[in-house]
């Protein structure tokens, strides 16, 4: 599932690729002329106009930009929390831009691992239950769920915090639980929105080290941040300004 390259697609799809508008080079993420328009009363506000880019499997990308630039909107689109007003978004060979709510929920469950600035853990649930949550909605049986969640927690060095609740954990630990939750389903992309925004410098470094390690293990990481030093840890930086891509450069 996570191993998506051109070779994994069915032959027919590959050969007819140009005929049905499918992107020529199959990337993990392919955004084609994406527009997102909000209606504020009678006025139309273009949060994004004409954004196009592609992400290959195994890339480590930072999306940066000042607040109001449209990077949150872009993140919501990449995370399949929302659909574009116009344009095409292909994620792992699937055309997300035409999906309904339930299909989007399924894609979020299978293909996207979210990490939020404020962790967004269920306050009353244990670390284990929090990590299990995507598996529950993925319809995985409880025995296997426990096993997978424990593995994911071990992968972020929290094997000894399985039964702790969020209020019994430090900020860094909470964020690591959230990362474990994001990873547990082996998603195509790890999508982090200001993951260090609520953490001190030292813990931020720890979390960023963890992201780097996860990237080295083969995960595709997309980081949304406005902090230049955080963005600098990525291998490619896409800068957004006024709803458009200002700069897209490989830095490593």
């Amino acid at each position: 599932m996570s191993d998506v390259t051109l070779a994994t697609l069915p032959t027919e799809e590959r050969t007819s690729a140009n005929g049905n508008g499918r992107p020529e080079v199959v990337s993990l993420i392919a955004m084609r002329d994406i527009w997102k328009t909000y209606e504020m009363g009678s006025e139309k506000v273009h949060a994004l106009h004409g954004v196009s880019f592609e992400v290959r499997k195994g890339e480590y990308i930072a999306i940066t930009g000042p607040s109001g630039s449209g990077k949150s909107t872009l993140m919501n689109l990449i995370g399949c929390l929302d659909t574009p007003s116009q344009g095409e978004y292909w994620l792992n060979g699937k055309n997300v831009s035409e999906m309904d709510d339930d299909e989007l929920a399924r894609i979020r469950n299978q293909e996207v691992g979210f990490v939020f600035q404020t962790f967004n853990l269920l306050a009353r649930a244990t670390a284990l239950h929090n990590v299990e949550l995507p598996l529950i909605y993925g319809g995985i049986g409880s025995a296997k769920r426990h096993e997978m969640a424990k593995q994911a927690l071990a992968a972020v060095d929290l094997a000894d915090r399985v039964t702790h609740r969020p209020n019994e954990l430090s900020g860094g630990q909470r964020q690591r639980v959230a990362i474990a939750r994001a990873l547990v389903n082996h998603p195509s992309i790890l999508l982090a929105d200001e993951p260090t925004g609520a953490l001190d410098t030292h813990t931020s470094q720890e979390i960023m080290d963890l992201f780097e390690r996860l990237h080295e293990e083969g995960n595709t990481v997309v980081l949304v941040t406005h902090e230049p030093d955080i963005a600098a840890r990525a291998h490619r930086i896409i800068s957004i300004r006024d709803g458009q891509i200002e700069k897209d450069q490989v830095v490593r």
Partner: protein, 402 residues
């Protein structure tokens, strides 16, 4: 998962549960009373005498006064009773009865104002299967002579002769002197009302003293005892034929007299309680609706409070149906607990009622099933909208909510 939130908001959940409980208690309690009454009534009707048929000028009813057309009907007579006895082959016995609703009886300084005074024939004992326990019952000679003799029910004996033997004593019934010739065996009570507060005298004597008292002060009716239970139907047919002929009812007209057996009495009773049950059911449902509105209120608060949680769940892949069912299950758990609690209290209340009050109560199994079913249904109905509200939340908005 659903129980977590119930536990997390104990007081709030308890209050919500209480609302539903009250509704279910109302239902169980009402049903148990109605069912208890029905059961008791059926038992009592059965005990009134085996399969007797009741013939009167008026249609059978419970306390409902007869309509104007019924009032103007021709009275039934002693001759009608005699004709039934002679002509109907399915009939074993006929007992015409003239009844005075309340008479006054004196003995020396003692007095009772409540006994029912019956003018009866010697057939009474056989038809009603109630016999004189002491002394003797009214006989044909008493009838012929219009003698001032009477047989007392045990209540009247207790009221007038607490320390004496009543036999052969002279009592005054509505001021007229009567000799006590016997005491009836006790019948017990019917719905808390004693059936032994009665005075029997020859029907000929009764007519001598109360010839012209109008309805409802006096009533004349005929009790018929068929050969056996199997003859109830044919007896009714024969009585109908004979009375229609004697009262000159044209073939296309309705009977101008009332005829009823225990079965038809039960039918009428069930109709009556059916209407009552309907009203009581409506009341119970109002109580349940109020409980349900409580559930909806709590669920709406819960949805708002947990907007963030819903956002998180949606972000990690919960579909609308997932969220909808989560909140629906929570609502059903709440109302289900309420229903069970209400059931328990209602059951205990009906047991206590049986023990400590004259009103009978009985909870049938179907009421338990319906009680639980309805409380679950209340959860679904009143939980649906809040759950749908939760399911429809935009994940981005929900995640942003603090």
């Amino acid at each position: 998962m659903a129980l977590d939130t119930v536990r997390a908001n104990k007081l709030r959940s308890a209050l919500t549960i209480l609302g539903v409980s009250v509704g279910v208690i109302t239902i169980i309690f009402m049903v148990s009373i109605i069912q208890g009454l029905n059961k008791a009534f059926a038992d009592q009707i059965e005990s009134l005498g085996s399969n007797t048929i009741f013939v009167a000028k008026f249609e059978p009813s419970f306390g409902k006064p007869p309509g104007p057309d019924e009032i103007h009907r021709k009275d039934l007579t002693m001759d009608d009773a005699e004709a039934l006895r002679r002509e109907a082959p399915s009939i074993a016995g006929v007992s015409p009865i003239h009844r005075l609703l309340a008479g006054t009886a004196h003995y020396q300084d003692k007095q009772t104002d409540t006994p029912i005074v019956f003018g009866v024939t010697p057939y009474y004992e056989f038809v009603h299967t109630q016999y004189a326990a002491r002394g003797r019952f009214i006989n044909d000679i008493d009838m012929q002579d219009r003698s001032n003799v009477c047989v007392l029910g045990v209540d009247v004996v207790q009221a007038l002769f607490p320390y004496e033997d009543p036999l052969n004593k002279e009592v005054r019934i509505n001021g007229n002197p009567f000799q006590v010739i016997g005491v009836m065996e006790p019948l017990g009570s019917f719905f808390g009302q004693s059936r032994d507060n009665s005075i029997f005298m020859p029907i000929s004597t009764f007519d001598k003293y109360y010839p012209d008292l109008p309805f409802p002060q006096t009533v004349f009716f005929i009790i018929v005892r068929p050969q056996s239970r199997a003859y109830v139907k044919s007896s009714i047919d024969e009585i109908t034929d004979i009375l229609r002929r004697r009262r000159h009812v044209a073939p296309n007209e309705k009977n101008n007299f009332g005829i009823s057996s225990q079965d038809s009495l039960l039918d009428i009773y069930n109709q009556l309680t059916g209407a009552t049950a309907l009203v009581l059911t409506a009341i119970s449902f109002v109580a349940l609706m109020i409980g349900g509105i409580g559930v909806m209120n709590i669920m709406l608060v819960s949805v708002t409070e947990r907007t963030k949680e819903i956002g998180i769940r949606k972000a990690v892949g919960a579909t609308k149906i997932n969220i909808l069912s989560q909140f629906l299950i929570e609502a059903v758990v709440l109302t289900g607990i309420g229903g069970l609690a209400g059931l328990l209290v209602g059951e205990v209340a009906s047991v206590l009622m049986n023990k400590y009050s004259p009103l009978p109560a009985y909870v049938p199994v179907w009421a338990i099933v319906v009680g639980i079913g309805i409380s679950a249904a209340v959860g679904i109905v009143f939980g649906l909208w809040p759950a749908w509200k939760a399911a429809r939340l935009d994940p981005i908005e929900a995640l942003r909510w603090e």
